[in-house]
């Protein structure tokens, strides 16, 4: 299931859903991304996240289809927040279940790597210097290309 939402999410709720729905899958991997100071100088007070409604959901669905083609997976849950977020808030959640821990780890990392380069979402950093759109990182493209 995929959610693009303004509201915060509750990791425990998502985990319990993954546990309940899983058909004997013994491995559950979660990834949570938090708002951090991308400039590493303590100046970033928050983010604004813009997205392309419709295409975001479509691209994330496509990423799930690709992940399922690569690994035997049970549940996949993706949540991405949009709008105004403060430092240390949760931005993104990916949860994957599988009978095999390697599949669960790989799929969760694959989904994050692809999400970073495929999902039409943009971050704008807010600091004392004013708002600034975050530049795309080459390392994210490299990460996605490894799959």
């Amino acid at each position: 299931m995929i959610s693009i939402q303004h509201e915060d999410f509750d990791l425990n709720h998502e985990y319990l859903q993954l546990r309940d729905c899983n058909d004997g899958d013994g491995a559950i991997v979660t990834f949570s991304g938090l708002v951090r100071d991308y400039n590493a100088d303590g100046s970033v007070s928050g983010l604004f996240l813009e997205h392309y409604p419709g295409m975001t959901e479509k691209s994330l669905m496509d990423i799930c289809v690709q992940a399922r083609a690569k690994w035997p997976l049970g549940q996949i849950r993706i949540i991405h927040r949009i709008g105004q977020l403060n430092a240390n808030e949760q931005i993104v959640f990916v949860g994957v279940t599988s009978a095999h821990r390697a599949a669960a780890f790989s799929a969760a990392e694959f989904i994050m790597d692809y999400l970073k380069t495929q999902a039409p979402i943009w971050k704008q950093e807010h600091s004392a210097k004013g708002p600034k759109w975050v530049e795309a990182k080459d390392s994210d493209v490299t990460a996605a290309n490894k799959w």
């Binding site: 392309y52 295409m55 991405h80 999400l115 979402i121 943009w122």
Partner: protein, 81 residues
């Protein structure tokens, strides 16, 4: 008619999020972009070689043909996650 959308820094530089354009041709996405570039100085924001384009909500190549009723979007490299 086709619907054209702009996002993030591109939306800001162009000062608009979306526009509808009458359409009855057989333009490629690249040709549409070239037409938009003739609209004035602000529109040069579209000329960067890192500007991405989506046709009907899927990333597309410059030589993709646009059909009437399509939804086209231009945007900078994505930075979510």
């Amino acid at each position: 008619m086709i619907k054209i959308q702009f996002f993030a820094s591109l939306r800001e530089r162009l000062g608009q999020a979306k526009m509808n354009v009458e359409y009855n041709g057989e333009l490629t996405v690249e040709a549409l972009k070239q037409q938009l570039l003739t609209r004035g100085e602000d529109w040069q924001a579209l000329s960067g070689n890192n500007v991405l384009c989506a046709l009907n909500q899927s990333i597309c190549k410059p030589d993709t043909i646009i059909n009437d009723g399509d939804e086209i979007a231009f945007f900078p490299p994505v930075t979510g996650g």
